[in-house]
């Protein structure tokens, strides 16, 4: 973690302008604490990163700040804040250096200068700074003066021309200007993202997984979205939600990332989820019991099917596993899965396909769960 080198608003507390800490806090997202990225304003007028508010709303359909019900369709970009963040970030390092330096030099002066001297010193210092500012302005203008070619610049486009031509040029220049998009400011958002919304893909919609009875539907949803479609139903659902949020937040960005990079980030997300991928809301202790209860019907079906096919295949050895099973099934799920597995195999040779196919369902699902359960501890640090 030592690779993380973050700045935060408390950087300012030790400088000569601790108040900047508050300014910076206001430019940071309250959810991720980082500078606002593609800030979005809610209908209750709170601003968060696009990705942060989208994830928060997926987790709970309320504004994180005031808990008013909110939906992603009500989110709007907050251009003014986006511009402020960009401007502040551009100068932050310099301002921090100045604010720290001033603290040092003032302390130094306090040691060898009396208060009166300090007072006398202060205006002189500001004056000197003003002079510097004027100097630098002059420097900017000098090249133009030096050209001295008898031409004057157009006040709009700065194109140089004879003074007499300027008025005629102005009309044309102004008309041209109006056709062009206005310059980028906080209130005139960058043309790239405002005037060409058609270039961006449409936002994705969250899938209604509640209506999808079958895991196949969920899997297809992911395949259609072009994202990895492995794992349990829960993993797939959460991956889809994550993808939709990432995708739409990327759409809100001034400079969207290419799809390939988004997919890589989704892959990182998957890896990061690791053993927690199958995390369910229920407490861990009841996990096994819960699993048995949820899948009891399925196991029952499976057992019946397996037994039926075994009866068909061989008459005698059926009786023993039939007795042993119900007890074990109550005790724990993993054992039961092992018990079940050989049976479809036994039924396989008999050619009873319809019986062995339902078996593939829960076994596959159990596979989806068991690696995560066995690796549960490892990624938990």
């Amino acid at each position: 973690m030592s690779t993380i080198n973050v700045e935060d608003s408390t950087d300012w507390l030790s400088t000569t302008v601790p108040g900047l800490s508050r300014l910076e806090t206001s430019l940071r997202c309250q959810v991720c604490r980082d500078f606002l990225t593609s800030p979005m304003i809610t209908s209750c007028a709170h601003t968060f990163c696009s990705l942060c508010i989208r994830k928060s709303l997926s987790a709970e359909g309320k504004c994180p700040a005031c808990r008013e019900p909110e939906s992603v369709s009500k989110l709007r970009r907050n251009w003014a804040v986006e511009e402020s963040v960009a401007a502040w970030r551009a100068v932050r390092e310099k301002v921090l250096a100045v604010a720290r330096q001033e603290g040092k030099s003032e302390k130094g002066k306090k040691r060898d200068a009396t208060e009166a001297e300090m007072e006398a010193e202060l205006p002189r210092r500001t004056q000197r700074r003003k002079v510097v500012a004027i100097d630098s302005d002059d420097e900017e203008y000098r090249p133009e003066e030096e050209r001295n070619d008898g031409l004057v610049p157009c006040p709009i486009c700065s194109k140089r021309m004879k003074e007499a031509d300027v008025f005629g040029h102005l009309d044309k220049c102004q008309a041209e200007r109006q056709q062009r998009p206005p310059p980028k400011t906080a209130f005139n958002p960058p043309p790239s993202s405002q005037s060409t919304p058609t270039k961006r893909p449409q936002n994705l919609a969250h899938a209604n997984f509640g209506l999808m009875k079958s895991e196949v539907h969920v899997r297809n949803q992911l395949k259609n979205a072009g994202i990895p479609a492995w794992g349990s139903r829960d993993v797939m659902m959460r991956r889809h939600v994550e993808w939709v949020n990432m995708f739409n937040a990327n759409n809100d960005a001034e400079h969207p990332k290419p799809r390939g990079q988004l997919l890589r980030e989704l892959d990182e997300w998957d890896k990061f989820q690791g053993g927690w991928a199958a995390r369910v809301k229920k407490p861990k202790e009841t996990d096994g019991q819960e699993y048995i209860r949820q899948h009891k019907e399925h196991y029952e079906e499976l057992k019946a099917a397996a037994l039926a096919s075994m009866r068909k295949a061989v008459a005698k050895p059926v009786e023993e596993p039939k007795e042993g099973e119900p007890g074990q099934q109550q005790q724990n799920a993993p054992n039961q899965q092992q018990q079940n597995e050989p049976k479809p195999e036994a039924s396989g040779p008999t050619g009873a396909l319809p019986e062995s196919t339902p078996a593939a369902g829960p076994v596959a699902r159990a596979d989806g769960h068991s690696p995560s359960r066995s690796s549960w501890k490892a990624p938990e640090w």
């Binding site: 980082d34 980030e265 990182e268």
Partner: protein, 167 residues
Amino acid sequence: MSHTSVAAKRLFIEYRALTTDALDGIAAGPVSEDDLFLWEALIQGPGGTPFEGGVFPAELRFPKDYPLAPPQMRFTCEIWHPNVYPNGNVCISILHAPGEDPNHYEKAEERWSPIQSVEKILISVMSMLAEPNDESPANVDAARMWRERRGEYERVVRESVRRSLGL
């Protein structure tokens, strides 16, 4: 930085902020910098309460989707308090996601939200030490003692503080 480590980054920022702008009577940070998802916190017993003079260590475990979900907090020392389970788990509303309400009494606005923070949790826990919440008896015996035999409750707490200090 990829977004997958949003949780880690936020935890790091919180850790930094807690270090540069420290709170009175509270210290907290990751147990090791290799794992930002397990923190240790030290909380001073608030003055004017039987917990005064004590220092109470606790651990905070953060989920991977932090700050969407709250951390779990557990005192790693003996603590006799109506809102602390005998195993040390702290039961206060700020540590409960809005969806879950083990005691069916908490107001939504008091519960966890992504804008809450470690700092706010620790402040809440500190005030919880000073003012137990009778409605949420994580430790029923302690709650009853606090309600019915306040003197005894305070004596028990003071004794445990003294024990923890090795006196």
